[in-house]
Amino acid sequence: MNAIEIEALTKHYTTGFWRPRPYPALDGLTLSVAPGEVFGFLGPNGAGKTTTLKLLMQLIYPTSGHASILGKPVGDIAVKQRVGYLPEQPYFYDYLTAEELLEYFAALFGASAAAARQRASGLLDDVGIGGERRVQLRKFSKGMLQRVGIAQALINEPEIVFLDEPMSGLDPLGRREIRELILRLRDRGCTVFFSSHVLADAEALCSRVAVMANGRLSATGRLSDLVAFHVRGWELVVSGLPDTALEHARSLGHVVRATKLGEGRYALELPLSPAPDRTLAEMIGQGARLVSLNPVRDTLEDFFVQQVAASKPRTSAEVA
């Protein structure tokens, strides 16, 4: 049984007051996520990622199509016991403290008062909220709210977690903490479905990804399958390179592009052939010193940009 099963899911909004037209926020999405996967749901803003998540949480109702979580149709109350959700830019009851909020949610899951308190306290430790937990949420910064958001998504030890832009609002330290958290969840066997437009996170965490553009699914599959990790060139960084040597290499076509980093220090883009060690040897012969030599591969970002460019925009008939 798949953790998430989505079939031809479509959501049309009507826009326009005088002549209402349907706006396809999501158009025929078919997708499945296996249990235990960390699945990256990628795409630019307006691609339909948040719409999909809202449909999965039954905050909105589909125009057509079907989705199920853990084998049961979306919205099933029993399934909600095993699910966690963090919306984009979360807002919580600002008159409650962080502690009270988590205890409230824990109680909604049926935890006793004591168990709720314990669970809340543990999670707050995990996400790095210390003494502020007794302060009313109205005084929390964006980053702290994001941490509270993650804590409330995990309050019931869910089997599957939906995160909408989990890294937003966090400083680099916070982002690293969340990355580690997601990896810990994966190790525990939790399925993680998260949407993001920050590709570096996806590259670091996901086993499979889907790329959305203009309301449609553009591509989906294992990361390694989608992005051909073939080398298309080399990046050579040298210091102490005399200008004459650089001109010579350029004229021979051994250097495609040169970026000056400082006096005699260059980042050079080398073609696939001749083999870079030959070009390097020549430069060393002229007095240069090696700083670094790295292969240049297609990244997820290249793939992403390609996909989005290739995807058909929503036609003018569709958009009001």
Partner: protein, 268 residues
């Protein structure tokens, strides 16, 4: 059930931490006390005036709470998006709406209770402090327990206004909800005139319309037994019972409507 209770307790917590509530209660208590001073200036009629003012204050302040908090009950959560996280937990949309309602009613009950106690304290004192001959002339005792019937019906009236405000709050902005709720309350008070619309306005459409609206729109005038309470006129328990039953049935009707609307909507 459990979820309804949890949501209700949260609403109560919010209204307690929202300082508006304190101000209203203090103001109402102050109002009742100052009416005591007014009473001093109008010799003889003071107990009647204070009873009038006291019951009216309980009604008006309760109404303010019902409307001003009621119109935001659901709307605020949708607008601020706190509804997103809440509905991802194992709680049905209907339980959420009912929980909100119960929470506000709980707040109202406490408020009305506090105001009633203050009210009885004031009239009780006035009755005790009045000279014997003046006291003998009262149409009914100063701290007349029969006035509780008026308070009970005021409570039911508030429950109905709250339900209506909550209903509008499930799909409409606060300003519009306030106008509609207050509008219905005002029309509901002129219920008798609706019934007699035919004799004011000539056309037969008016007669039919007046009668139809008379049966359908909430009859708030029936909850108003303040005049009877003040004059010591008997209000039979049968009257209180029927009117209370009417009020509660209407509350159920409105709540079912609110739950139905709320269950079907998209949260953009």
């Amino acid at each position: 059930m459990r979820t309804i209770r949890l949501v209700a307790v949260n609403v109560f917590k919010e209204s307690v931490r929202d300082k508006i509530l304190y101000n209203l209660v203090i103001f109402a208590v102050l109002m009742i006390s100052t009416s005591y001073l007014i009473g001093q200036l109008t010799g003889g009629q003071d107990v009647k005036i204070i009873k009038d003012l006291g019951l009216a204050s309980i009604s008006i302040f309760g109404l303010l709470i019902s409307v001003f908090i009621g119109i935001g009950l659901v709307w605020k959560e949708v607008e601020k998006r706190s509804i997103y996280t809440l509905l991802s937990k194992p709680i049905r949309r209907g339980e959420f709406v009912v929980g909100k309602y119960v929470g506000l009613v709980l707040t109202l009950v406490i408020n009305v209770a506090v105001m009633t106690v203050a009210f009885y304290a004031v009239v009780g004192y006035m009755g005790w402090a009045a000279p014997e001959n003046v006291r003998a002339a009262f149409p009914s005792p100063a701290a007349d327990p029969a006035m509780l019937k008026a308070v009970a019906l005021i409570m039911i009236e508030l429950m109905l206004v709250t339900a209506i405000a909550l209903f509008f709050s499930t799909f409409s902005t606060p300003f519009l909800s306030a106008m509609l709720t207050v509008g219905l309350w005002v029309i509901g008070h002129f219920n008798d005139d609706l019934r007699n619309l035919g004799s004011y306005v000539g056309s037969s459409t008016a007669v039919w319309l007046g009668k139809a609206l008379y049966y359908v729109l909430p009859n708030f005038a029936a909850f108003d037994v303040k005049a009877q309470a003040v004059y010591g006129q008997p209000v039979p328990m049968g009257y209180v019972g029927l009117t209370a039953l009417y009020g509660l049935t209407y509350v159920a009707f409105v709540l079912v409507g609110a739950v139905t609307i709320f269950s079907r909507r998209d949260f953009k």
